[in-house]
Amino acid sequence: MELFANLYTGFEVALTPLNLLYCLGGVFVGTLIGVLPGLGPTATIAMLLPVTFGLPPVSALIMLAGIYYGAQYGGSTTAILINLPGESSSVVTALDGYQMARQGRAGLALSTAALGSFFAGTVATFLLALFAPPLAEIALKFGPAEYFSLMVMGLVASVVLAHGSLIKAIAMILLGLLLGLVGTDVTSGTPRFTFDIPELADGINFVIVAMGMFGLGEIIRNLENEETRDVFARKITGLLPTWNDIKTITAPVLRGTALGSALGILPGGGAMLSSFAAYSLEKKISKNSKNFGKGAIEGVAAPESANNAGAQTSFIPMLTLGIPSNPVMALMIGAMIIQGIQPGPQVMTEQPSLFWGIIVSMWVGNFFLVVLNLPMIGLWVRMLTVPYHLLYPAILVFCAIGVFSLNNSTFDVYLMAIFGVLGYVLSKLDCEPAPLLLGFILGPMMEEYLRRAMVLSRGDAMVFIERPISATMLGLAVIGLIVVLLPSIRKKREEAFTEEG
């Protein structure tokens, strides 16, 4: 069995003491930021990236992945205990989870979330191991035209399936693509949009963009309206579910896992869409549906399994095609490039230990989350109440030092401040920063593939339509856009994202 041989390779990498340590560190930091107020995974990963540049690539990526799914977990803890979803993917968990906490069943809600997530993570890891190789196999046959069309489709899908204004998201992608082109053009050697500033000759580091727009921008937004946090349950007891509880949650966990795994593969899908969809589905088909919103355990089990499954399977397009489906994946791709790894299907064949090591580490990380976090819940509860007005100056310091350490350049710090202003102003205008970051990472790659495709076709743009795979992907992108722009579906899409929130 090739699958088991591959998984064995993965275990050999993931179970080395050093990588276990980075995995543990990643999930710990991830959970921490998930429970701390006002700090998202994108900003944290950007903040920690400079630290990981010195690590071997596999350790760096294992740790970053750990932060990502650790943050999902921490986000659901805050959703259950204080009705404040730490991450957007745990918005629906708050609906029933917080009600359970008010009824004194906080421990049960937390363990349901943890066990559901662990089960979903295990299944999704297997799916990843099963489906990644054939997908990479197909992608290896792609030419530049297919790659260009794939990126177009990926970018379009990421905004079609995300919430918010579609047209503004597309404008943000274009702005990101343009900003990504700043720096020296690789083909002609012409410096572009650099204003003769030497620091811009190598382009803008993606860490600066991410920290400015997600780190600084988020802090300024949080300062508009400072929240106070009241923890409902200070002492958490009754962590262990009874046999009856387990029987109740089995079916929702299975459905949530299946739905989450499927939606996570879609670009733009990932954790958030999965959890919303799983909650709606469960509410529709459950016999207990009248109790939803009043502390139904199924309303915690299904979305929590789904968001974890979705978070795991969203690695599939990133690892096999080099296409980011959300800003965290975009940062992972940026981290790979800095580590000298060209993201794409060749990663699996050229760096099997990296590829399988990351996949297996996700399962190991999910295991850590269960065995460490349930006993450590007391610590997380205390972290919930760290006052934000003492936390954000510290976050700013880490951002500033992190950016300065990239090149020991004060210019980078100033540039981060500019992106902070831009991020805040754009978000006030209802323009989400995530699509800009996706475009920013893909900009130079897209231009390169476009250029190569056009050279091969002798300047004939029809190549994108004449090649069947490329045409299919462009077709899907166009259909996606048309469907969302249809008034009836547009209304439903808006409802789907607001109804439960």
């Binding site: 630290v51 047209i167 503004k168 597309i170 404008a171 274009l174 702005l175 693509l177 343009l178 082109l181 053009d185 083909t187 002609s188 012409t190 572009r192 949009f193 600084l216 802090i219 300024i220 300062l223 508009e224 309206n225 400072e226 006052p387 934000y388 007005h389 003492l390 954000y392 100056p393 510290a394 700013l396 310091v397 951002c399 500033a400 030092i401 300065f404 350490s405 020991n408 004060t410 210019f411 710090v413 100033y414 981060m416 401040a417 902070g420 202003v421 805040y424 102003v425 754009l426 006030k428 205008l429 209802d430 323009c431 897209m446 231009e447 250029r451 056009m454 050279v455 004939d460 743009a461």
Partner: protein, 154 residues
């Protein structure tokens, strides 16, 4: 604010912003070689992208004049200015005065943006962060950053 029939400020101003970015990128890109479709020059891709960005910007701005929505609110000038000034100050001080001073300055300036600002905990945080960052980043991780800048005789 809306003297000439802007019904949705968020759409209108974001549209203008996108148009401005599009025009700026296109304007600058014109100085580069456009090339041919077969041999794309450095201006080719940016000019196409900025062209689409301008078109979408116009569409968003037009929507801002025609479709009404709730006005923009809650803009925090204090938060924006203090966070940005603190960050710029860090950049200005980190070389000349060193990491501890720059860190303390950033903490002090940015903490003032909070409604719950209180000088005592802020002072403790500023000193604590300055010591922590110096020890962790410079002494433990060995990042090549100055502890004392030229201003302090370093």
């Amino acid at each position: 604010m809306s003297g000439f029939g802007i019904r949705n400020q968020k759409d209108f101003y974001s549209g203008l912003l996108f148009i401005a970015f599009g025009v700026a990128f296109m304007w600058i890109a014109q100085n580069y070689n456009f090339g041919t479709p077969r041999r794309m020059g450095p201006a080719f891709f940016p000019i196409i992208l900025s062209g689409i960005l301008i078109a979408i910007g116009i569409a968003i701005a037009v929507r801002g004049v025609t479709v009404a929505e709730e006005p923009m609110r809650g803009f925090t000038l204090k938060g924006l200015v203090l966070v940005i000034v603190g960050t710029l100050l860090f950049g200005f001080l980190v070389r000349s005065a060193g990491v501890p001073i720059a860190t303390a300055a950033l903490v002090a300036v940015s903490a003032y943006a909070s409604q719950r600002f209180n000088w005592k905990p802020t002072l403790v945080l500023a000193v604590g962060m300055a010591v922590f960052c110096t020890v962790v980043f410079i002494y433990a991780l060995g990042l090549p950053m100055p502890v004392r800048g030229p201003w302090l005789g370093g």
